[in-house]
Amino acid sequence: MFHNMPIDEVLLVIAIASYIVGALALFGFFLSRVPFLRNLGATLAILGAVAQFAQLVARYEISHIWPLLNLYGSLSLFSAMSVAIFVVFAFRYRLWFAGGFVLALAAMFLTYGVTWNEGVMPPVPSLQSYWAKVHVPIVVTSYAAFLVSFVISALYLVRYYVERRQGAAMMLSASVEPGGAGAAAGTATIAGPNDGISGWLASLPTLPQLDVLVYRSVAVGLPLLTLGIITGAMWAKEAWGAYWQWDPKETAALFSWIIYAAYMHLHTRNHWRGLRTSWVSVLGFVSIIFCYLGVNIWISGLHSYKV
């Protein structure tokens, strides 16, 4: 089946297939905690990311054109980096349970990226810069880190709201059936410690642990986004004369930066840490997607590379 395909396309198919099957395996692990599914998902995640990096190298070798300077290339790097950062986090902080979401998003963004594949094209003059080669991977890696923060904060919110509902149910059952045995029976059927959801929830990291993980992934993303904006400014200075032109792409990145700076400051306050900062992280990722795809697609500006 593959013998007529160029090597980069073969690698692409391997990556997408690995992500899809890996996502299914890790979703299975998320729900069931069967270790085999985790091992399978982890292996496929690594295989997919390796195939993607190999694919980018292969494209460069075939065309001698830096492969990251269009939406297809940058979305490829974005999905590969999301998985790579996730894999590092998963090994370090036992985060495999979240992998299904990350791999599914990676598969989605990669497949979407393929729809922008125009074939090989030499870059326009403003993209023929050393800074372009530095700037794009940094920015895309920061987006990838924020994707990981987004997934963890979404899980934080799921856990928080499920627990709250269980808490309410427990209170309800306790008030409906006051008294020792009755209360115990009530809680056992609705939300007792042996109940399926509770048992499953108990196998997730605790809310404070999830919050710390969100913070740690933002701690990867925000310095990178800052560095990305700085390298972008250096490049803009070379290409367009001013390091900051208030171009929609720059300002959208600044908007995301402001949201994550707000996240960081709110996270220093005890009452905001956790629930509310997780919402800020979700909002931050929405702004990242707007900055990344929304601006490229809907709003024209210098970053549509006129010169």
């Binding site: 125009e118 403003s126 023929q128 310095p223 290409a239 208030w246 300002t251 402001i258 010169v307």
Partner: protein
């Protein structure tokens, strides 16, 4: 100071020293920034009326949202942020991040533990100190009301990370202010063979020639004409008046007397011959797209809409190919301000405009678009960005934590009470705290 002034001052400090107030300022800053992303900036008022319903367009123009980044809103919010930053740093960050060595109520701190040891107090105290010192903690002992406390700090220096980040932001703000105060920028078009004097910088630039390369590339969706290179060959002189040859390319600006010159665009200007009854009456100045040429003695004029590098021989329409082939110009005839029709006219062809008049596109000239900028704040902004980044890395990747330790006699032995605080709450340190306490327990109880 009167009472009122003192109260006002206290209110000011309380408000501006509140992190949530600062975050609210961030939110406003974010919203203003987003408005500038969504609403096209710097367009003519008519463009907003064309794109939005009239009340919205009016609001955009009234509120300066058409130029939001240079509006007083934007500058004002940044000034408020800087004020808040300054107040917070002195009133809040420094006291909170660099706390004095003081005793605490150990049980009241979420991360706390007690270890009982069957050894004399002095020896236990020494062992505790050794334990923390060996692990890179800075240990300081202080006596409070007869009780001796030990304070063991991990990565104490990194407490200043926030200050570094904040300083970076202030330096960036100072750098941009320098540009507002003393910098300038603009752009200019220079025709081949023309010499232009740049306002404010005083430099003169002569365009010897402009070259571009555009390649047709076959893509999956058809041919794309991809620009590969734009180059201006110029002769320029600065304050010393000595002319030098330069090459300006995209991504390769030149610098003369501290002002940078960048390749930013290119285009074609056209000289038109104006004929009356078939005889040449005059030759126009080079016209740029959008310029008009008046027909003498009439209420008509010709507007030069755009230059077409090549016409498609089959469709007789402008080709998407931007390279020069069979060039033409798009013109429109305007009478008393009203458009009376448009035409595509090949170079050197004559078109009748009535009353015995006709026009002929005679020559086209390339021009280069050069952007220039003098920005004395660049270095400062660069330094600020670097400082900010360093501050972020320190704040995020180092976790200053402080152990509070008191060793009290207990029967024959001693009890060690420990509590720990960090600059980022307790959860982030819970695991490490547990591990360290267990190691200390093992070490003390095995007589280490």
């Amino acid at each position: 100071m009167t009472e009122t002034v003192r109260n006002l001052y206290a209110d000011f400090i309380r408000t501006f020293g509140n992190v949530l107030f600062a975050v609210s300022l961030f939110v406003v800053w974010g919203i203003l920034t987003l408005i500038g992303v969504i609403v096209d900036q710097g367009k003519a008022p008519s463009a907003y009326y064309a794109a939005y319903a009239a009340p919205i367009a009016r609001a955009i123009l009234r509120l300066d949202f058409n130029n939001v980044y240079h509006s007083w809103w934007y500058v004002g919010i940044i000034a408020l942020i800087l004020t808040s930053l300054a107040v917070c740093t002195f009133k809040r960050v420094i006291p909170a991040r660099l706390p004095a060595l003081r005793p605490v109520k150990i049980d009241a701190i979420p991360l706390h533990a007690t270890i009982s040891v069957a050894a004399p107090v002095e020896r236990v105290r020494e062992s505790v100190e050794r334990f923390f010192t060996q692990r890179g903690f800075l240990v300081r002992n202080r006596e409070f009301g007869g009780t001796e406390w030990s304070f063991a700090d991990k990565q104490n220096w990194a407490r200043r990370g926030v200050l570094v980040a904040h300083l970076g932001f202030v330096i960036i703000a100072a750098g941009t202010t320098l540009y507002w105060a003393f910098g300038f920028s603009g752009d200019t078009a220079i025709l081949t063979g023309q010499t232009v004097t740049i306002p404010r910088s005083g430099a003169t630039i002569h365009l010897d020639r402009f070259r571009y390369r555009i390649d047709p590339i076959a893509t999956k969706t058809g041919i794309v004409y991809q620009p590969i290179d734009y180059v201006s060959h110029v002769t320029a002189s600065g304050k010393d008046g000595v002319a030098h040859p330069y090459v300006i390319r995209v991504n390769h600006p030149i610098t003369i007397d501290g002002t940078n010159y960048y390749q930013s665009s290119y285009g074609f200007a056209v000289r038109f011959a104006l004929l009356h009854n078939g005889r040449l009456a005059s030759l126009s100045q080079p016209l740029y797209a959008g310029d008009s040429l008046k027909i003498p003695g009439t209420s008509r004029s010709i507007e030069f809409l755009r230059f077409v590098p090549t016409m498609d021989p089959q469709t007789k329409m402008p080709s998407p190919d931007p390279r020069i082939g069979n060039p033409a110009v798009a013109l429109s005839l305007v009478r008393n301000g009203a458009n009376e029709g448009a035409a595509l006219v090949l170079m050197h062809r004559t078109v009748d405009v009535g009353d015995g008049w006709s026009v002929r596109p005679e020559r086209y000239l390339m021009f280069t678009g050069i952007q220039y900028r003098y920005d004395p704040g660049v270095a400062l902004v660069g330094i600020g960005a670097f400082v900010l980044l360093v501050g972020l890395v320190i704040s995020f990747y180092f976790l200053p934590a402080r152990f509070y330790v008191r060793v009290d006699p207990h029967g024959e032995g001693a009890t060690v009470g420990l509590a720990a605080t960090t600059v980022k709450g307790y959860d982030i340190f819970a695991e490490e705290f547990g591990t360290l306490v267990e190691r200390l327990r093992t070490s003390l109880q095995s007589g280490g």
